[in-house]
Amino acid sequence: MSERPAAPIDEVLADSMHRAQVRASGAEAQASLAAERQQAAETLRRISNANESRFRAWFDSASPGVVAIDETGRITLVNTSTEEMFGYRRDELVGQPLAIILPERYRTGYAEHERACFAHPHKRPVVEVRGRKKDGAEFPLEVGLSFVEEGGVRSALAFITDISERSRAAEALGEIQRDLMTKNSQLEGLFQHSPVGLAMFDAEPPYQVLTHNRIYQQFSDEPFRSEGMLGKYIPDYMPQAEQNGMFEIFREVARTGNGKTLYAFPYEGLRRGKTWWNWNLSPVLLEGKVKAFAHMLIEVTEEVQARESLAATEGRFRALLESASQGVLAVDDGGCITLVNAKTEEMFGYHRDELVGQPLEVLLPERFRAVHGDYQRTYFAHPRSRAMGLGVDLTGRKKDGSEFPLEASLSFVEQGESRMALALITDITERRRTQEALRESESQFRTLANAIPQLCWTANAGGLISWYNQRWYEYTGTTPGKMEGWGSQSVHDPEALPEVLDRWQGSMASGEPFDMVLPLRGADGVFRPFLTRVMPVRDRDGKVAGWFGTNTDISEQRKTEEALRESEERLRQLNAELEKRVRERTTQLEAANKELEAFAYSVSHDLRAPLRGIDGWSLALAEDYAPQLDERAHKYLDRVRSETQRMGLLIDALLQLSRITRSEIAHDTVDLTSVAQAVAARLREAHAGRRIEFVIAPELTAEGDARLLEIALTNLLGNAVKFTGPRADARIEFGRTDCDGERAFFVRDNGVGFEMAFASPLFGAFQRLHKVSEFPGTGIGLATVQRIVHRHGGRVWAEAQPGQGAVFYFTIGAQ
C-alpha cells in the first residue's frame, strides 16, 4: 500500500463503495461483488498516487471497515470505520494479524483461508464470519478479500461490513417465519383436532370433499383414515346421506345462498346407527356463486339421548305419580299444597286446581284444623320422615264434607331454598271395614266353634296348637294350662302317637290336609276313635299360615257301622240261601215244565188217538149194524160218541192252558178295543139266532201279548154270551174302570150270575158253577184267563149275584 491511487479516486471510490455497500446490504449478487471490489482496488491502486490526504479522508470516512494486510497477514492499514467497528485504535491494530479481530475459535481456520487466498490470489467470495471487538464482544460481519499486487508485493484489502443489523433483521424474519409455521401447524392441529367436525366440499353433486377434519369423519360411515376422504365424494363415505335428508339441505343452501343451521339433526348411518348433530352449512361464494360448502358439525348424540332419557324418566315419574294407588300431596313450608296426584283428587273429590295453593287444612275436618296447623309448624321446625296414622286416627274431609279414615306417611324434602313435606295418603276405609268384618267373623267363628259337637282347634304354621274350643276341654277334661305347648299329646294313645306325629309332620311338610282316625282319651279315661281332619289355612300367597283341625267322635258311628256290617252279612247269607233256593226251585220248575211239555205232547198224541178209535168204531158199529141195533142202542152209541168228543175238547182246552204257561210272551201295545170288537163279531156270528148287545169302550189299549189277550177276551166274552143265554136282551159290556186306584178292564153281563160264596175256586181248572146240561163247557176257560192275566203281571177277579149278571175284572201289568 505504498502506492496511492490517483485522482479522480474520489468519484471512483465513492461509486465503488456505494455499490459495495448496496451489495453488502442485499442478499443477492454477492458473486459479482468480489469482481467489483477488485475493480475498486484497481482503481484505488491507480489513484494511490493521487492526493494521499484526500484518500485518507475518503478511506477513513468509508463506511465499511477497510483493512489492508500484507502477505504475512499483518494489518498495514485500518480505516476509521474499522476502529469504530472493533473498538481498537488503528495503532493497536496495525502490525497485528488480521485474526485479531476474529474470535479465537475462528483464527486458525481463518489463517488457513488467508494463506490459501494468497497462494491463489483471485477473487474470493464474501464470507460471513463473526468479528471480535476489543472488549471481546462478538458480532456478525462479512468479509470480502481483494488482492493487490504491486511491484511484486502482494497485499490484500479486506472489506469488513458489520452485519449485526442485517442479521438481526434476518433473524427477526426467521422468527416470523417460524412463528408463522408454528401458528400454521397450530391452526392445522386446531382444525384437525377440533371437537367440531369441519369439512369443505364442492357445491355441485356428488359433492367432492375438499378438506375435512378428523371429527368430521365421525359423521361418515367410514372409519378414520389418515388420508381422509380427500378427493372422494360424499356418497362414497355416507351412503345414507340422501336418506337422511342431507342433500336436501345442500340443495337448499346451494339454491338460496344462505347458510343453514340445524339443531339435533338426526343422522342414521351404517356404522354408528342413529346419531344427532348440530349442523351448520355455509356456502362459500366466489364471484357471487356458491362454489363450495363449509360444513360444521357438533355431535350432540349423548345430549339428545340424555334429554330423551330424562324426558322418559320425567314421564315415567309423572305416570308413576299419577297412577300411584296412594294419594300424593306436597306441601310447602307455608302449609300450602303444591302438588297433588290423581289419586288424591279422587280421594278428596277436588280437582287439583282447587287444591294447589290452598292450605292443607282444607282437606281436614274443621275440628282438627287448628291442631294440625300447630303440628305442621312443629314439623317444619323439626322435620323428619315418619308414618302417620300408626295408632292415631287421621281423618280426611272430602269436598262434599264427608269424612273418611286415612293413613299418611310424611317425608321431608329440601331442594335448595325450598322446603316441602311430601305426604303419601292411603284411604283406609276399606281396611277399617275389613278389620271390623274380620273381628266380627272371628267372633262368629269362636261362637260357632264352641257350639259344634266336634272338638276343634287351630295351630300355627309350625303345628303348635294355639287354641281349643270349649268342647275339647269338656271331652278331655283338661285345662288350657295343661294344653300349653305340646300338651295335647297327653290325650293321645301312646301306641298311636308315633304314627299320628309322623303323619302330622308329613302334612305340615307337604301342606296337604291331614285326615286320620285316631284315639283320644276322654275325661273318663276311655279312648274313643275320632275322625281327625286338619285343613291348612293359607294366606294370600298360598303359603300355609296355620291349621284348622276338628276331631269328630265316631265311636257311635263305628258301632252302627259294625251292626250294619253284621246285618249286611246276615242279609248276604240270606240272599245267598235264597238264591240257592231259587236256583233249586228254578231247576225243579224247569224239570216240571219239561215234564208238563212231555205230558202235553203225549196227551195230544196218545190220549186223543184212542178217543178217535172209540168215536170211529162206535160210528162204524152204528152204521154197519144199524138194523140189528134198536133205538136205545143207537142212543147209547150217540152218548159214547158225544162223551168221547167232549173228552177231545177237554184235552184240547188243557193243551191250550199248558201252552199258555209254556209259550214266550210278547210285549206290544195291543188295541184291546179292536180285539174285543173282532171277538164280539165272531160270537155274534156263532150265535146268529140271539139278540146280543155288545158295548165296547173305545181306545182301550194294553201292553202285552196280542194272541194271549185275544184268548182271554174270547173266553170272557164267550162266557158272557153263554151265561146270558136265557135272556132275551143280553147286554155285554167291555170297558175300563178304576178299582181302588187301580185301572182295571172289565167284562160285564146281565146273565145268570152266580153266588159269590162259590166264587173262590172259579179260576181253577175244571171248576164249574153250573151244570153241563145247563151251560156246557170245559171249566178250563177262566183258568186260562187267569193264567194269561198272571203272565201279564195282572190279576183277575169277579163280582156277581145270582140272576143279576156278573162282572169280571182284570188288570194288565202295573196300570
Binding site: S604, R612, G613, W617
Partner: protein, 154 residues
C-alpha cells in the same frame, strides 16, 4: 198210468187208526191201493226198495204218503227229512196226518218240506171228511210231480 193205479202209502203204527183210515178212504170213494208200513224204517225201505221191500221197483213211487209223526224206530219227522234228502223221493207229496197240533211239530214239518199238515179230529165224520178232501186234492186236482230218474245211474 191212471190215478187209480197209484199207491197211497200210509205210515201208521196204530191198527185202529189204520182201520179207520181205510174205512174213511173207502167211504170217500178213493180207490187207490193203500200200502201200510207200521214204522218209519219200513216206510223208507219200501220207498227205496230195501230191507223187506228189497227188489221193489223204486221208480214206482206212491202218489201220496200219509205220515204219522209218533212212530216206532224212525220218527215221522226223520222219515220226512230222509225222503227230502234223497233225490229219488225229493218231490214225493207227503202229508202229515197226526193227532198232535203242537206248534213245534207243525213248524218242523214245514221246515222239512212237508206238503200238508192235517190233524186227525176225534170225530170220525170230520176225519172222513178231511180224508175225502185230501184225496180229492192230492190225487186228482193236484198235478203230480214228474218222475225222478234213478239218480244212482247219473
Amino acid at each position: 198210468m191212471t190215478t187209480n193205479a197209484r199207491i197211497i202209502l200210509l205210515v201208521e203204527d196204530n191198527p185202529s187208526d189204520v182201520g179207520l183210515t181205510e174205512r174213511a178212504l173207502s167211504k170217500s170213494q178213493i180207490a187207490n191201493r193203500l200200502i201200510v208200513t207200521e214204522d218209519g224204517q219200513e216206510a223208507l225201505d219200501y220207498l227205496w226198495g230195501a230191507g223187506s221191500h228189497a227188489g221193489r221197483d223204486t221208480t214206482d213211487l206212491p202218489a201220496l204218503v200219509l205220515l204219522d209223526l209218533n212212530l216206532p224206530k224212525v220218527t215221522g219227522l226223520e222219515v220226512l227229512r230222509r225222503i227230502r234228502e234223497d233225490a229219488r223221493t225229493r218231490r214225493l207229496p207227503v202229508v202229515i196226518l197226526t193227532s198232535s197240533k203242537e206248534e213245534q211239530d207243525i213248524a218242523a214239518g214245514y221246515d222239512l218240506g212237508v206238503n200238508s199238515y192235517i190233524r186227525k179230529p176225534v170225530d170220525f165224520k170230520q176225519f172222513a171228511a178231511a180224508l175225502e178232501q185230501l184225496g180229492l186234492y192230492w190225487l186228482s186236482m193236484n198235478e203230480a210231480p214228474p218222475k225222478v230218474k234213478d239218480v244212482r245211474d247219473t
